[in-house]
């Protein structure tokens, strides 16, 4: 007798089982309690007049957002944050890729350097900023010494309106370049060696090989790193707070610091929530834009 072949026990793929819900439940609960509820609460808050001391005094519609536009400081923090992202994201992609390409071999030297470059990522922001405040010390710091060599004396980036933000960007790149480097290294190792051998027989120069073999093979990773860094760097906070405190003259104050100050110093929760929504929208737009760009380049 011909019996159709059956899997033993359990449901076939496509069947729904109430019991299966149990397996996703823990994750679902965490997602709802820690992510969706705060997100909804934040959106709701941004339309309220909510003072931490005075409490809730009713809905104010779009007033919080209008006030943000008219705020003397907020538009500047948006500009600072966007500039910061524009400086650091290409740096993370470019430098991360460069380091990965340079260290993608099995030499002892390279594995030591990989560890060194990744090492700083494990430091906390306080330690990192401590180190860099020493580096940036006017007249005595490492940066001053190096700049003196090229004839730039008494250069103090931390108190310069132009250089404060780039100085923070340098710290940030130094701090967490390890992640993009590691992602790129992982991607490079996935490229079959035969492709490079075929390219060598096809007379490809090193530059042609990079452009025609390596980069197209890791374009997904490039896009992923770009999106990760956009999302991460929009949330700049600790480094700015600890190195420049947002100064001089608000020229390095990021959005998150503004949110923190209006929410937890000035205790205007509704206002701070509105600023958070702006940040959220910016991050979403930038990440979507980046994904659209890399998808368009694919075909």
């Amino acid at each position: 007798m011909a019996n159709p072949i059956r899997g033993s026990g359990g449901a076939a793929i496509g069947d729904t089982h109430a019991a299966n819900l149990l397996f996703v439940l823990p994750y679902l609960v965490v997602l709802i309690v820690l992510l969706l509820v705060p997100l909804g609460l934040g959106i709701w808050l941004s339309f309220q007049d909510y003072d931490m001391l005075g409490g809730w005094s009713g809905s104010v519609g779009l007033d919080n957002f209008r006030n943000l536009l008219d705020d003397p400081i907020f538009p500047g923090t948006v500009r600072n944050t966007v500039v910061f992202v524009l400086i650091t994201t290409p740096a993370f992609v470019g430098l991360g890729l460069f380091l990965a390409l340079a260290l993608n071999d099995s030499l002892r030297r390279s594995s030591v350097l990989r560890a060194v470059f990744f090492g700083s990522s494990v430091l906390s922001v306080t330690i990192v900023t401590l180190i860099w405040r020493l580096v940036y010390l006017p007249d005595r710091g490492l940066a001053a010494d190096i700049l003196a060599l090229v004839g730039l004396h008494s250069f103090d980036p931390v108190t310069s309106e132009t250089w404060a933000l780039p100085a923070i960007a340098v710290v940030t790149v130094w701090w967490i370049i390890g992640l993009p480097m590691t992602l790129f290294l992982a991607a490079l190792q996935q490229i079959p060696a035969e492709l490079y051998e075929a390219a060598a027989l096809d007379h490809a120069s090193r530059f042609t090989t990079l452009r025609s073999i390596t980069l197209p093979s890791i374009r997904r990773t490039i896009a992923v790193v770009a999106v990760i860094e956009i999302v991460l760097q929009f949330q700049l906070f600790g480094q700015a707070l600890l190195i420049t405190g947002g100064g001089p003259n608000n020229h390095s104050r990021p959005i998150v610091q503004f949110i923190y100050e209006s929410g937890f110093r000035d205790l205007q929760l509704g206002f701070a929530a509105a600023a958070s929504q702006v940040l959220f929208a910016l991050m979403l737009l930038a990440a979507l834009g980046q994904m659209w760009l890399s998808r368009r380049g694919e075909d």
Binding site: E194, L201, D202, H203, A204, S205, S212
Partner: protein
């Protein structure tokens, strides 16, 4: 003419010597097949010719040029890889054009050459697809096309058929042989499949443990193996090997005795026989089931056009012989086997074939 010449080439990986002092001349226009078991160094040898691996010692010449010192792209060779190594993000057309573009070939010429090769390999309709959208056999053709457009002085193939199914493999074998006849270019083909070697080669290079065992035409290698290794590696089913004792000489030729007492008169001259154990080698087709040694059938392998019979001699040693496809036999049936001594080989204790 551009013949390929390897002169005392060695290759070491660390302390392991993979190729030992190997010399070989491949005349221009040959279809040379490197044949040997897995790990014997065939790929390593091919990769040294291609420039993907540097020899530890020795020289490689192609025509009048010493090539082991120049970059892979400058050697005038093209290689077809086992896994094809097509550039996944380029179309078939771009894959084939890549090498030409890199040496600055004019655009019209590239277009013409790619079209010609695509025509020859019947892949013209695939030119705008990417490798991921091709079947294994189509990829394989594209890889060959990529080699052809470069008009190399030598083609190098590293087991390019091993990923194809049996039917496609035998079809591609024929096509490669035809391609060779048409282009008359030197081809070096690596395989561990002796059928591929026998069917395509004009010259087989049998390798074992980093050394050349024998170089010869397919029939030379089949009929006059120089060593016991070659005799056993080439031909299906594998040659029968039986330990024998030398008993007498008859008309200058050696007569040997099998363990079961059967005497076989060979054509091997009796003088200059080495002392020590001798081995008799005889192929299935040279054992005839008429009369002679008693044996008992233990396995019957029906291949369709012929049948392989495995039979135990009285002393327990097993031999294989063949019969027509429709032979009536049963397992356990007694048979009598005659060994054609004139077609048998004798091997000395060092594994070398004994000859006059």
């Amino acid at each position: 003419m551009t013949n390929l010449s390897l002169r005392q080439v060695s290759k070491r990986f660390g302390h392991v010597e993979v190729i030992r002092d190997l010399s070989l001349e491949i005349p221009a226009g040959e279809f040379a097949v490197f044949l040997g078991p897995s790990g014997c160094g065939k790929s390593t040898l091919l990769r040294m010719i291609a420039g993907l691996e540097a020899p530890s010692a020795g020289e490689i010449h192609l025509g009048h040029m010493r090539i082991d010192t120049v970059r892979p792209g400058d050697r005038g060779v093209a290689m077809v890889f086992q896994h094809y190594a097509l550039y996944p993000h380029m179309t078939v057309r771009q894959n084939m054009a890549f090498g030409l573009r890199n040496i600055g070939t004019p655009r019209e010429e590239i277009t013409r050459k790619v079209a010609e090769a695509a025509e020859m390999l019947e892949i013209a309709p695939l030119l705008d697809r990417k490798p991921g959208q091709l079947s294994g056999g189509q990829r394989q053709r594209v890889a060959i096309g990529r080699a052809i457009v470069k008009q190399p002085q030598a083609f190098l193939f590293d087991e390019p058929l091993s990923n194809l199914d049996a039917a496609l493999r035998s079809r591609t074998r024929i096509e490669l042989a035809r391609l060779h006849q048409r282009m008359q270019t030197t081809m070096v083909f690596v395989t561990h499949d002796q059928v591929e070697a026998m069917t395509m080669a004009t010259r087989i290079v049998v390798m074992n443990q980093g050394r050349i065992e024998q170089v010869g035409t397919p029939m030379e290698v089949y009929q006059q193996p120089r060593t016991r290794f070659v005799a056993g590696f080439v031909g299906t089913p594998a040659m029968n090997f039986l330990p024998v004792a030398r008993v007498e000489e008859r008309g200058g030729h050696t007569v040997v005795r099998l363990p079961d007492g059967t005497e076989i008169a060979t054509l091997v001259p009796a003088d200059r026989l080495p002392s020590g154990d001798l081995t008799l080698g005889i192929r299935a087709e040279h054992i005839v089931p008429v009369e002679g040694a008693e044996a008992r059938v233990i396995v019957i392998e029906r291949l369709g056009e012929r049948t392989l019979i495995y039979a135990d001699l009285r002393d327990g040693s097993t031999v294989v012989y063949d019969e027509p496809g429709d032979v009536r036999l049963e397992i356990g049936q007694p048979v009598r086997l005659a060994f054609d001594g004139t077609a048998a080989h004798l091997f000395g204790p060092d594994g070398m074939t004994l000859r006059g």
